[in-house]
Symmetry: C2
Subunit: 398 residues, 2 copies
């Protein structure tokens, strides 16, 4: 009944769905408070209170027809201008409203960018492990995902392999820093190195390669780590941003795409992305949320709890013999598994711990643990992790 | 720089954009109040006041994390249940939350349905004139649009031509009643006839053909005209609905898709549409607007002004010799042009009247006049229409 492309997706989906169902089943048997669900990337910290104040204020002060009405497919000009100014202030860039397209979150932003640039069979390089949905997004436009492994020592891209895999068919490279699922942040030197390779290959092969920087976790960094602004290093860069994590608004679907003037044929690309926003069905980003962003453009959610969670869980897992990179951003720990990662997840379930196998991120041999949960749940889960470690390492931890 | 598919869209777009620019130019020369812009389908009647009250109430009463957080990709269960109940009450159907997928408006609903069912080169039949975007939506999934003309006498589908054009490659039929651009509503007998032809052809060719009923104008009907519920006549029917016009919320992007149990393989199709919602980038419909719909599920915008506009403009244009079907729904008049429709639009511009050529809807020889404008603007525009008629028909009207 359904299309061939969707058949594959429906089949794959059932694996993930099984896990959800399992979680529900465990909760119904053992009680919700005795199940430790670390599988989701849903913010556990509320939106800043200014967000709800802005909503009420906007509803009270703006005329209904213009507040809830259509605007340009790229979004309200004043909202885009406010965002451009905010980026300029933070990163010393030079954007204006004609560089910003408001989108239905980053997922939609990724889709309209890929639709705008990708011809069938063109290649998009990703650094593995990576967010599984990239494969689906690229497949929407009949592109081909090419995986370049990160080095296991620090989960930074393997630049030699990267350079080798660029060829005439390479159309784009997706980076995601702070990273889902590893929590790693790409340093300025990594970004410069990627950019230099891209510049060199563009000239050598006489092609255009776009860098797509997917940045939903930009504001979720700890200990004064800096996340450099990628357009500074490479002209053909799209920035895809979302307020899902930075303002804890994932359900509202609000984000934007940056198309810098320095990009080749920038104006045409901007127009293409805007049209893609329309014809793929978003038409425009939700109007009330656009207005909210204008009022909250320099705010971010309080990440104190995430940082506490990271440190608590990281330290406890290290004590229990687990190996893991100390994450600088996002809200994930990517933990090495002493056994097959799917098997690990099955055994963890015995202790009512739910985590996602790394193989779902093209990173087998690891599991992703989302620490965007209550600090209190992490504390409650520690005895369960201890028992899991005792079984896995065949050793007592006290 | 951009993909081949997008190149065509960018080129076509500039024609429409030129019209917008022209409108702005005219307004700057003659003053906004002296330009009569009938080109857009943007509601001119505000949302019911209960919408804004609901927004404030929700913000005050719901917890931020769950209000603005992720939910199932098909939407909140309670919202879907409320919508199912509301449809059941009105149309004596038997839906529940497992038949409803919340979407980012009807445009996104159309996209995720088409993505779910369409393989490359499969055909989708539309009845011309039709909403231009259907072609783009079908093209997103490499399908082929097949146009079947409506009869000029009443703009109901030509059923003989329809039957002839169904073949092994036919995958879906899109209907849109009340119709953009003609304002026509399909009667029960028309819908039954379409359904019977589809049933017959499904058996004859041993294929499945989906009927997609795009219904953003369902609530905009006048004089107690009924808009029959299409799932009653044909099992393989998707209903694609939007609150853009019914609650005057086009910028907020909120709607839903109905997948009835009677559809072949209904559960798999539901799952496919839900996954398509995710991978095409919507992820889910905006969460706050979903909650608003639950509270306003049986409301609709006040259409008194649209009805007054229709009657005023229709009667005046008839007096001026123009030929036009009396529309039963939506907010468009589809007026026959005594000359080429694009030429008509050019001449109309001389009188500061902006309308859209029918050829943009595969209906050349006509223009679309959107009467979702203020009643007062219509009154102001009448002398301009008179001058236009005098030039076109070479005759004096007093």
């Amino acid at each position: 009944m359904i299309s061939d492309k969707m058949k594959k997706l429906v089949n794959n989906n059932s694996v993930i769905r099984q896990m959800f169902e399992e979680g529900k089943k465990l909760a119904s048997i053992y009680g919700k408070e005795n199940v430790y669900d670390f599988s989701l990337g849903n913010p556990s910290v509320p939106a800043p209170k200014e967000v709800n104040e802005a909503i009420k204020n906007i509803v009270d002060s703006e005329e209904s027809i213009s507040l809830h009405g259509y605007m340009s497919n790229s979004g309200y000009e004043d909202v885009r201008e406010a965002i451009a100014n905010s980026i300029n202030q933070k990163f010393n860039t030079d954007f204006d409203e004609n560089n910003i397209i408001m989108t239905v979150g980053a997922a939609s932003g990724m889709n309209i960018v890929l639709k705008s640039i990708l011809n069938p069979n063109e290649e998009v390089i990703v650094f593995a492990p990576y967010f599984v949905e990239y494969k689906n997004y690229v497949n929407n436009y009949d592109g081909k995902i090419v995986e370049v492994l990160c080095k296991e020592s620090d989960f930074q891209p393997d630049l030699e392999e990267f350079e080798q895999k660029i060829n005439k068919n390479t159309r784009a490279v997706i980076i995601n820093s702070p990273n889902n699922p590893t929590g790693v942040v790409y340093s300025e030197s990594t970004l410069k190195a990627i950019s230099e390779i891209l510049e060199k290959k563009q000239k050598e092969l006489n092609i255009t390669i776009f860098l797509i920087s997917d940045e939903p976790y930009r504001e979720l960094v700890y200990d004064d780590i800096e996340v450099p602004y990628v357009t500074k290093f490479y002209n053909n860069t799209f920035v895809v941003y979302s307020y899902s994590k930075s303002l804890s608004l994932p359900g509202e679907r609000i984000g934007y795409v940056v198309v810098p003037n320095e990009m080749e044929d920038s104006k045409t690309v901007f127009e293409a992305v805007t049209i893609a926003n329309r014809v793929l069905g978003s038409v425009n980003a939700p109007s009330i949320m656009q207005k909210v962003i204008k009022k909250c453009v320099n705010l971010k959610t309080d990440i104190t709890e995430y940082k506490e969670n990271r440190d608590l869980l990281y330290n406890e897992l290290k004590k229990l013999n687990f190996e893991c990179i100390y994450p600088q951003g996002a809200f994930y720990l990517f933990v090495k598994t002493p056994i097959d990662d799917k098997e690990f997840c099955e055994i963890a379930k015995k202790y009512n711990i739910l985590v996602v196998p790394g193989s779902s991120f093209a990173g087998s041999g690891y599991v992703r643990i989302s620490y965007c949960v209550s600090n209190e749940m992490i504390k409650r889960s520690l005895p369960a992790f201890r028992k899991l470690a005792e079984e896995l390492f065949n050793k007592n931890f006290i």
